[in-house]
């Protein structure tokens, strides 16, 4: 896909996020929307995957360590063809295969169950290690939150990944700057994020995570980086695309009312029109 097509798809992914969370009357729209461009780039451009064969042996893997933003992952998977987009409305409902947090046994395309913060990165490291042990060339991508990296296990995993020179691993930190209790720097500052990963022997790249060109360049740079894992620290806007959710910690884990949903969808329709309509 070209940049415009990816941007349009990201907008569709955002519509799916808002629709799913609205239907569930619960969920985490803020951090799903901030990372929507990354979800889109990974599943529509970067990763070697096959929606018809979700368990393809040599596929690239993705672990959503910040598992509460499952609506973002589910919307990307649905739009990519793993399951019907219409099913996003079953999010969090009794009997749905779209659980509140990712469940690898339930949902096609989910490579690891996650959601207890700090744990996903370790699993991603294990996958990257397995590829190295078996001389396979698949790559592993792991998305963490900027609040999540307050968890100590993130740094246990990072120390190991750096030590083992896992250059098939890309850690992406969604630096939207907000966590439940407020700004990350007020709650317990993770900054400087890049210097921390550098200290653990990562190659680090700072980008605007709501810009497809910058995402594409960072992924290319990560592929070209040998002998060390890469950490992409992406500045994003929490709630990106929905006017009243942007940069508002209150929308970390709250569903829009019917009225708010209408406004949100109108916001996204407008963005879609400005991009020139559907792909």
């Amino acid at each position: 896909m070209n940049k415009l097509e990816l941007a349009k798809m990201a907008n569709e992914v955002r519509k799916g996020i808002v629709t799913a969370v609205h239907s569930a009357k619960a969920g985490h729209p803020g951090g799903s929307l901030s990372a929507a461009d990354m979800f889109t780039y990974l599943y529509f451009e970067e990763m070697n995957i096959d929606p018809k064969n979700p368990k393809m042996e040599n596929r690239d893997r993705f672990v959503l360590s910040k598992g509460h933003t499952a609506p973002g992952l589910y919307s990307a998977l649905a739009n990519r063809g793993y399951f019907p987009v219409e099913d996003l409305k079953t999010l969090r409902k009794l009997g749905s295969y779209l659980q509140g947090h990712p469940c690898m046994q339930e949902t096609p395309g989910v490579d690891m169950s996650s959601g207890s913060l700090g744990q996903g990165l370790s699993a991603a490291v294990g996958m990257a290690l397995a590829a190295k042990m078996d001389n396979k060339d698949y790559r592993v991508y792991c998305l963490c939150g900027d609040g999540e990296i307050q968890e100590g296990q993130i740094w246990e995993a990072s120390m190991f990944a750096g030590h083992r020179k896992l250059d098939n691993l890309v850690v992406i930190v969604d630096n939207n700057g907000l966590q439940i209790d407020g700004k990350v720097e007020d709650v317990c500052s993770p900054y400087p994020i890049d210097k921390k990963f550098e200290a653990f022997n990562f190659h680090t790249i700072n980008i605007n995570g709501n810009d497809m060109d910058e995402i594409a360049a960072a992924m290319k740079e990560a592929r070209e980086t040998k002998g060390m894992p890469t950490a992409i620290i992406m500045k994003t806007v929490k709630g990106k695309g929905v006017s009243f959710m942007e940069n508002n910690a209150g929308w970390h884990g709250k569903a829009p009312s019917d009225e708010e949903y209408a406004i949100a969808m109108a916001d996204l329709e407008k963005i879609g029109e400005e991009l020139g309509g559907a792909n």
Partner: protein
């Protein structure tokens, strides 16, 4: 049992892994800087490329094992029970148990026979923790023969397994041609009619010793080795409880949540029977020799004998 050969089940664990290494190419072993103590160093020496030392970071080791399992490996994570089950509980629950991944947890240094290190490292809560996780198999081998058999059985079973090993040397009691290990199947070591002693791990040899002493007093005790706490061998426990009408459980673990609780859960529902639970009575351990501690807390042959006798004569 004066001249019986004694081997610590952690030794058996390391040896079994090394022996299985060639037969099972997907077997990988992870450690958290304790390969010397967990005895997986034997495997490391034989298969250096399949041994992964994660450093002192048990939670990360658990997640790495989960990731390896999703890619077809059969990982064994090794640490002391205190960390493998205690520190790690939520990682085991969410990263291994919930996705039902094929990870085996080799927990050594369980119970008070850790000895001199004292209470911080004596885990008497791990069976309780692990058996609450849906889909988790919990195995506590009694000796060298059983520990080795359990390791290979765990490799051949698809799903999470918690294996509990000890630091101290314990008598080899299963070195017989007819011995057969099957996950979930208890073993009657001695038939009896007056009381059933259900033991696991370290306490199995003590239970046999107690039964000999009880026989001298005219009490005919049945001794059952329950090496698999979960799934429990319900039929065997129920049949024996029905026969003797009195059940004693013996374990090197808290009386809360372990073998005793598992047996009581079953009996209270299917066959109400009076039960005497022998174990750590809701207390922490302390420093001392393994033998000295077993004696002090009533978990050796003499301790089990005294409690069973008092229980039978109530």
């Amino acid at each position: 049992m004066a001249d019986v050969k004694k081997i610590a089940t952690r030794e058996s664990y390391g040896n079994a892994l090394a022996e299985c290494g060639a037969k099972y190419p997907n077997l990988v072993v992870l450690d958290a800087d304790l390969a010397g103590a967990t005895k997986t160093g034997v495997f490391k020496k034989a298969f250096p490329d399949r041994h992964i030392d994660c450093g002192i970071a048990e939670c990360n080791m658990t997640g790495i094992a989960a990731g390896l399992a999703t890619c077809g490996k059969v990982p064994f994570i090794s640490s002391f029970a205190m960390f493998a089950a205690g520190r790690n509980f939520e990682q085991v629950r969410n990263s291994i148990g919930y996705p039902h991944l094929n990870v085996k947890i080799g927990a050594t240094h369980a119970g008070i026979t850790v000895g001199e290190d004292g209470a911080t490292h004596q885990c008497n809560e791990d069976i309780a923790l692990m058996r609450t996780i849906p889909g988790m198999t919990v195995i506590v081998p009694a000796d060298d023969v059983e520990a080795k058999a359990a390791v290979e059985a765990a490799i051949n079973y698809n799903g999470p397994v918690y294996l509990r090993f000890g630091r101290a040397a314990v008598p080899v009691i299963n070195d017989t041609p007819e011995y057969k290990f099957e996950i979930g199947k208890g073993v009657v070591l001695k038939e009896g009619k007056d009381v059933t002693i259900i033991a696991t791990g370290t306490c199995v040899s003590g239970a046999l010793e107690a039964a000999e002493k009880l026989a001298a007093d005219g009490i005919d005790a049945e001794v059952i080795n329950i090496h698999t706490i979960k799934p429990l061998d319900n039929d065997l426990v129920l049949a024996s409880a029905k026969k003797t009408g009195k059940v004693v459980t013996a374990e090197e673990h808290s009386v809360i949540g372990g073998l005793g609780s598992a047996v009581c859960d079953l009996l209270s529902e299917k066959q109400p029977t009076k039960v005497c639970k022998i174990g750590m009575n809701d207390v922490f351990g302390e420093s001392g020799t393994a033998g000295g501690l077993l004696e002090k807390y009533g978990l050796d042959g003499n301790g089990i004998y005294a409690k069973v006798k008092a229980f039978v004569q109530e």
